[in-house]
Symmetry: C2
Subunit: 333 residues, 2 copies
């Protein structure tokens, strides 16, 4: 798990070598998704994400239907983090020949289930054979009205930080699955929830679009690479530091038990764990009441105050009155 | 090289399992690209394509900069085949760690060169590590005015078939490279052109958009999988057959020599060879003069009459007065 800066340095180097975008590109590489003005006053949000078998999922405990569902859901989560309503998806598959028989149909069913559930049209596809592991690339597009886009960079020191749902849940599910590799769900309902969250993340589309439409957030990002990573990125993009209150973090009991059973500090583990696909929202002080009102419209998705952005440029985790450096996020390089 | 129908049957099975698109999806899976109405009277065209190292290119004779250029160019070719002007691109990379040092920078430079040359904004990117071969997935978007979209299905029996540039050129380049694996270009200028066409295909954007804007074509498709495949698909989609005049096919001398030197019939080889990224255009009789006039605006890209669509549902190649079945196209499964 090398430092997050390696992946970001790589992306920065790539970006430098590419031509600068024209004026209609409102937001290019570097946020959850890109924003373009397709015609005057109509913004389109586009994002792309790839999953590699053996890296992003283990076929011993991730059934193909769940992989299909997740490959679309993670892209919808990026749209939600921009406040955009999803619209269309394009699916590119590079598959070993072993996939084509029994694995592909349930995979497509899972992908289709996510498309139906979130009202996304699957408009284009592409399939090639590969001698390597299955690689799934999905591009998703969505719409948002101008001035309602949520970016990583709009926040200020003093803005409160909220997180949707719970954190560390997916990591706990993954840890449990690694020790009990099976496509079955565990019997314990809270543990089953951890496993489900890992296999079929729920993109927070409703809450993302609600916060965008009501301009109740100054910045937003999804937790694809964990809470620590998201906090650091929002803070860096907004030119602030951050202070996260460890004891406030919404970690469910089963996740805490999984972490503790493996000798891990549950709050640190919860901030490091990726794959939660919750949203981190920065809320200016004068919008706090509005933000809490929006929670009532969010159909049971909780919203927890977990800290704030600070003038102090450090990103710290406060535990029992002591400050420590926020853990490094997860990175693929 | 199994029959084309296997890949298409696979795509048809995938399509069946997915939800039907809403009304704003003007054209979904099955053409060169998808067409959506983003706002009233503004169409967006989206396409996605993947290249796998070892399948779509051989690193022994395809330099990384050319792979970068081509990975974008093949998507722009799909847009050109719809009559759309390219606009933006999203790049997803799954890379073995060996790529990150010396291979990635020239790859990105080549991708950027194609983006600059064709005025495409690279708006989003994504990079993950993979234990397998490098997999490059590109999504490109473009714009086209309603009623100016070129599809595969609009043609009728009696429409003339034209092809841009030359056919079999890229296959000849590939065959030569396989026998002389090197990143150098051959000394002979016509042979060098074959190699260049294979490594850096030129998307026919200008001619595609000209035919779209002037409504001079009833159907259009690019030759990514070869002329035979394109003719069969346009004929099938339009409910016609086709008759291709073998001796009319624009096969350049160096390509013919490469095919003949390997004991291959040059005209059959030219219809089977993929990777040309020329356009096949169907032109109604009353538009033939307009089509030929457009050629003068196409900056040196030739347009050759190669046959016609027929009521007879067969797809035939006519050679020295004899008819034979048009060869099967190329397929990845």
């Amino acid at each position: 798990m090398p430092a997050e800066s390696e992946e970001q340095a790589l992306i920065a180097r790539i970006r430098q070598r590419l031509p600068a975008g024209p004026r209609w590109v409102r937001l290019g590489i570097g946020d959850d998704a890109a924003v373009v003005e397709v015609v005057r006053n109509a913004l389109e949000v586009l994002t792309t994400d790839t999953m590699v078998e053996g890296i992003h999922w283990d076929p011993r405990f991730c059934p193909p239907a769940d992989v299909g569902y997740k490959s679309l859901a993670v892209n919808l989560s990026d749209l939600a983090a921009m406040g955009a309503a999803p619209r269309a998806a394009l699916l590119s598959l590079s598959l070993p020949s072993s996939w084509v028989g029994a694995t592909l149909p349930p995979f497509v069913d899972g992908f289709g289930a996510a498309a139906r559930e979130h009202e996304v049209a699957v408009i284009e596809g592409n399939i090639t054979s590969s001698p390597g592991p299955a690689v799934i690339s999905v591009t998703a597009t969505g719409n948002v009205r101008p001035r309602r886009v949520l970016t990583r960079s709009g926040a200020r020191a003093g803005d409160a930080l909220y997180v949707t749902g719970s954190v560390g849940t997916a990591l706990a599910g993954l840890m449990w699955l690694r020790d009990h590799p099976s496509v079955e769900e565990p019997g314990d309902p809270e543990l089953a929830e951890c496993v489900r969250r890992y296999r079929r993340p729920v993109p927070r589309i409703r809450i993302g679009t609600l916060f965008g439409r009501n301009r109740a957030a100054s910045a937003c990002m999804d937790l694809s690479d964990g809470l620590s990573d998201a906090v650091r990125q929002v803070a860096r993009s907004s030119g602030t530091g951050a202070r996260i209150l460890g004891e406030q973090l919404p970690v469910i009991g089963a996740a805490r038990a999984v972490f503790e059973g493996r000798g891990k500090d549950p709050f640190r583990a919860a901030t490091e764990g990726g794959d939660d696909y919750e949203l981190l929202l920065a809320v200016p002080p004068r919008k706090k009441r509005a933000a809490e009102a929006l929670q009532r419209l969010s159909r049971g998705v909780s919203l927890t105050l977990i800290g704030e952005l600070t003038k102090d440029p450090r990103t710290v985790l406060v535990r029992g009155g002591h400050e420590e450096e926020l853990p490094q996020g997860f990175s693929h390089f």
